[in-house]
């Protein structure tokens, strides 16, 4: 544990150097980040797993971990000595992706990404949906929302009518997803959020998606009734 803390403090140190705020990192100034124009330079504060009103941007102790089921991979303390022997975090994650334990996503700088079957959904997301342990109807609903998400990153942001149509399609897809997972609507909501996250999974896609949302500001969208799932 001590080794982890030490290494982590090193990371904090590096972080603070980048933020050009070494003094703030080593000092005891615990002012809120709201008063600090550079949140990245906020000093280490509470060790609690639950943040307090003044939110620390760095931690100094190991936190309680989530009780997530499934297998675990022991990540050794990455002290300089161990770092030589242990594979890097990036390599470990790549290994997990290759094994199928994590989704293997396209991370190219191309906003559209590969869509070899031209169905309006990126190939990697198509594959991810296909691998989910859900019914065919639920997969179809997932494809419907994935298609809309892909469209949001490609739409002309000056085309107000197209933006409105996308809002309507999003509403239809959300309602459809909720419907096919009923009564466990939360499961549908979770799946929609996952798809949103993996669709905007690179900086380029995320920034484009943010621009789409910004362009939609001020819009109004009615929630449709009935069966809104596409045939």
């Amino acid at each position: 544990l001590k080794g982890v803390v030490m290494v982590f403090k090193n990371q904090i140190f590096i972080s603070c150097l980048l933020a050009s705020s070494l003094v703030a990192c080593s000092g005891g100034d615990k002012s809120s980040a709201l008063e600090n124009p550079n949140p990245a330079a906020t000093p280490a504060a509470s060790d609690s797993t639950m943040p307090t009103t003044t939110l620390p941007t760095t931690q100094t102790q190991t936190q309680t971990t989530p009780t997530t089921p499934g297998s675990t991979t022991t990540l050794p303390a990455t002290t300089p000595t161990n770092a030589v022997a242990a594979p890097s975090l990036a390599v470990q994650i790549a290994t997990l992706e290759a094994s199928g334990k994590l989704p293997k996503l396209d991370r190219s700088s191309d906003i559209k990404g590969p869509d070899t079957n031209n169905n309006g959904i990126r190939d990697d997301i198509d594959a991810w949906i296909a691998a989910q342990p859900i019914t065919e109807v639920q997969k179809k609903a997932a494809q419907q929302i994935a298609k809309v998400q892909q469209a949001t990153t490609l739409v002309d942001l000056n085309d107000k009518a197209a933006l409105q149509t996308l809002g309507d399609r999003t509403a239809a897809a959300v309602v459809c997803l909720s419907r096919v997972f009923a009564p466990d609507q939360q499961a549908g909501s979770d799946l929609g959020a996952k798809l949103e996250a993996i669709s905007a999974n690179t900086k380029e896609r995320a920034m484009q998606y943010i621009k789409y949302n910004r362009a939609s500001s001020g819009s109004t969208t009615s929630l449709p009734s009935g069966n809104t799932c596409e045939p």
Partner: protein
Amino acid sequence: LLFAVKVQAQPVCVASRDICGPDTEGCKRVFPDIPSAFAEWKRFAEPTVAKTPKEACLGLYVSYERTLLQGGGSGFVGGSQGQVPLARYRRSEYLLMANVVTALECKVAEGGDSVITKTRQATYNEADVFFGCIPPPNITIGFFNGVGKTRQTAIDSLDRLKSEYGEQYKNTALKYELFYNQTACRDGWLGKVSCLEDLAEVFEQRTIELEGVFAKRWETYWDLLAGRYRSEESISGQLLGLFSTDNPLLQWLIAADNALSNALAASFLKIITLFAENPTYENRQQHLDRLTALDDNYSRLVLVAHSQGNLFVNSAYDALKATRPFASATVVHVAPASPTLRGKYILADIDLVINALRATGTTSVPGNNIEMPKSLRDRSGHGFEATYLDKAREAYARTKDFIKENLDRLAD
């Protein structure tokens, strides 16, 4: 001046939706004044004009004094028989001051004749339908989203509201509408920069750390933004679950989460300042246009606002009331940081975003009015669904009841 319409002994049943004649424009026709309404009444009282009677039918007996108060004004004209006046101000240009409307319920006897079975005071809606050929009563629950919400997640919140209240409340249909906002927090080289962009910059700065593994893993940004990065139902939670308890991933995520929460609160503060300087800062006209259109269609409005949505709802609500003082609209504030309120509010003591605002000396934040336990699945204590509609905690019942109270006020 008092008019009284006597209904014949054998009244013609006029089903409420059937009184629009072929010359009306859909069901949006309104009568310009009482004489016109009176003429219509007489016209549709003719047996030849009446539509096919239904099993349950309705006639209306109307008495009224005067009408057409232009430009708003207040005070109903008293009913000729001391009954509750029936005025429902729907349009500023058309303020119908009907006083007493008696509903004559009837049934269709053999041979097509109708027989009165019951006499009672008409409901507002029955009278509205008669005078203006308006649609059946409906309430629109409008949702004004909070800070950092994408359009999709805001629609998801709206869908959650629908799952709570359904499509019908008492005798009134419920509709749901999103009033989306994604505010600009500052001016940039190429125009205004949205708050989401500011938050993305904070995330990007942190991706330099931890071997840069998150630099191309922006799915984590969305998980952090939604406060779900430790949930096993998120990609980030899935990733965390594959590593041991002392891994630096979790440390990094917690630190990034805190940085984003701080940035979120800072964005909030900027928006409050922007609205304080200019209440019409953004989106007001678009939201007002939609509210006006809904009012034109006789939809009553329960507006639910979360987080920064409270600033937008105040702006839109005030604009609506300025032009239509009698529009049926109410507001419920969830996690507000707005200086003023238009209805009841709920604000949890664990709401870190609002608490962070207080820490800056912002005095406009209302006091907490509910105490809640913290939850690892809801680190910010600020989420609309995760905090205020979390069925496992107290805020759920309070939030739901506030909205229900408003539905009760507006529903038939």
